[in-house]
Amino acid sequence: MKDKSIKTLRMIGLGFLEPLIRLFSGEEPSKNGKLFFTKALLPLLSIILFVVIWHAGATALYNSEASVRIEKARAEQGEEAAIAMQECIESGDVSCQPNTLPSPKQVFGAFQALWQDHKSISEKKAEFKDKVSATNEQREAQGLDPITYTGRPSFLDQIGTSLKTVAAGCLLAMLIAVPIGIIIGLSESLRTAMNWLIQILKPVSPVVWLLLVFMIVKTVITDPSLDKSFIISFISVGLCAMWATLVNTSIGVTNVHNEYINVAKVLKLSIGQNIFKIILPASLPLIFTGLRITVSVSWMVLIAIELLAQSPGLGSFVWEEFQNGANDSNAKIIVAMFVIGIIGFLLDRIMLSVQNMMSFNKGMA
């Protein structure tokens, strides 16, 4: 039981909890206590330290912005206006709050507000579904499309859309990059032929890819029922992120161990058998390393692409909040920042455990 749970934890990348489990089962308390401290408590302490510094910085910025406002009022409208401004700021009135880096407390407040917002929107959605269910059944019988909820998406809905875009983008990247990687890995001349093209296209910025995809998709897709902005954004994400997988796959295929190639030669395997039974399994670890990079790159470029493609998601959420300029907009942007970071971290961990499962070479003498 204990060993099994430790193995699972290691597999999913939560190995830092291992000393805690050993500690609870009473195994070498002093050693595991120390390990728990270094592996789990120290990172936690550093996060706390980060929040403290952030709080101090935000307070300093708040004070400096407030004093600038007061001085400005004094210079433009005289002493009375300055006192009024100071009172207004101290009273916490929304109209005259200094607009600067939000403090951790404000960000937490914004997070709660977003959560409440999500709850109320999902309630509305459920209500709407109840209301239209009868009508939708009728419409279905008549062969019409059902009526769907078209209200404002909540923050969680936007996270969902972003994850969907990344998943579609990564799938596209995999479907393009892995076969091409295998082909150019197998043929020396094709590899040399494609090398320059790959080197030139690899560093192209996500924004340019987006514009390029926009030019093509705009012409190719004329059906108005399709979600064009989603198509544009996921294709651009895929194109930006596929290069790591492409390069890694071709390296993996080129560097298949000579032993295995000799086995294939001695057994006289056909080309298809050679690819599927020898080359592909032998290069799987490197392919998955590439896919892991692809996933993290696609999550990183996603925000910029969604922002420009007007596709609903975290990117447009950030941009809308910035344009909005409401009192808690800055805090909401910071919430989005942390959510993006944490989801990116989780995606990376998932890919890491998949990668670990694929590497047969581990522990091989």
């Binding site: 086995v263 001695v266 057994l267 006289k268 020898i278 032998a282 047969f360 070479n361």
Partner: protein
């Protein structure tokens, strides 16, 4: 009748000044059903020789004939046991053998195939480990899988490239006996490449030394007169065994020595100042420094 013939075979690698003549003027006839051992020091080109026979390499000069026909590439008629086992780490023992069987007997029915594979896994005593991956096996067990894979192809000839040199002495001894036991069941032609003269005497009918490279060539043959099955302990005490062993070793040493004498290559050694080992004792530093260079 010779099943395998090598006529004036030479092989070199590289071009220009970095060209290395590995093998030169190799002549060899292997008879059907015999167990031949080729003995040589490491680096003498033994693996190159076996790769010429299994078809992974082709000679620069001369010809390699299998049943009178020149070899055009690797084939399932020659089962190869590699020194480094060359098992596919993502496949189980059973699947590793199956990969070979699938290629050689594509028309065999599923149940026949399974019986065939299990028979050879049983032959090398690996039935309990048939679903394990190579990384879960010891070196000796891995080499047995390799033996089973080569035998399951039902080859006309078995080529062994230092199959046992990466194993410890005990495992080595037991695997030697096992390979001989399996070989004596149907007495296929077998070529064993080894750097161990004793191993050659214990296993082979005939031993041919390969002179040290570059430009390695085959020396005179030594017949092994012992009857099969051979018993290690009784052979070890035999006077004939000692003489044979000394003859082969002497030949190899002698060739190595003359080669060194006739070599016109001069090695220029760097002029190094030796440093005296040992620690410097307090107060005696000056003395220690004075003896540092001499």
């Amino acid at each position: 009748m010779a099943i395998l013939e090598l006529n004036n075979v030479s092989k070199s690698f590289g071009v220009g000044s970095s060209k290395i003549d590995v093998l030169s003027d190799i002549n060899l006839k292997v008879n059907e059903g015999e167990f031949l051992a080729i003995v040589g020091f490491s680096g003498s080109g033994k693996t190159t020789l076996i790769n010429l026979i299994n078809g992974l390499l082709f000679p620069d000069k001369g010809e390699v004939l299998l049943k009178g026909q020149p070899i055009t590439g690797p084939g399932p008629d020659r089962g190869v046991i590699f020194q480094n086992y060359s098992l596919l780490p993502w496949l189980s023992v059973y699947s590793n053998v199956k990969l070979a069987v699938d290629e050689v007997f594509p028309k065999m029915s599923k149940s026949d195939k399974e019986a065939h594979i299990l028979k050879y896994i049983e032959m090398v005593n690996l039935t309990p480990a048939k679903d394990k991956k190579p990384k879960e096996l010891s070196g000796g067990m891995r080499q047995r899988v390799s033996v089973a894979r080569a035998l399951a192809m039902n080859p006309e000839m078995l080529l062994m490239d230092e199959p046992l040199s990466a194993l410890d002495a005990l495992t080595r001894g037991s695997l030697q006996e096992e390979i001989i036991k399996i070989w004596s069941q149907d007495k296929k032609t077998a070529i064993l490449i080894t750097n161990d003269v004793d191993e050659g005497i214990l296993m082979a009918d005939r031993i041919i030394p390969l002179t040290p490279g570059p430009k390695a060539t085959l020396g005179p043959e030594f017949k092994v007169p012992f009857d099969r099955p051979r018993d290690v302990t009784s052979i070890n005490k035999d006077e004939q065994y000692k003489r044979l062993r000394n003859d082969i070793l002497e030949y190899l040493m002698e060739v190595g020595a003359t080669r060194r004498q006739t070599s016109d290559q001069k090695y220029i050694l760097p002029d190094l100042q030796p440093v005296m080992p040992g620690r410097v004792i307090f107060g005696k530093k000056k003395y220690a420094e004075s003896v540092k260079h001499f």
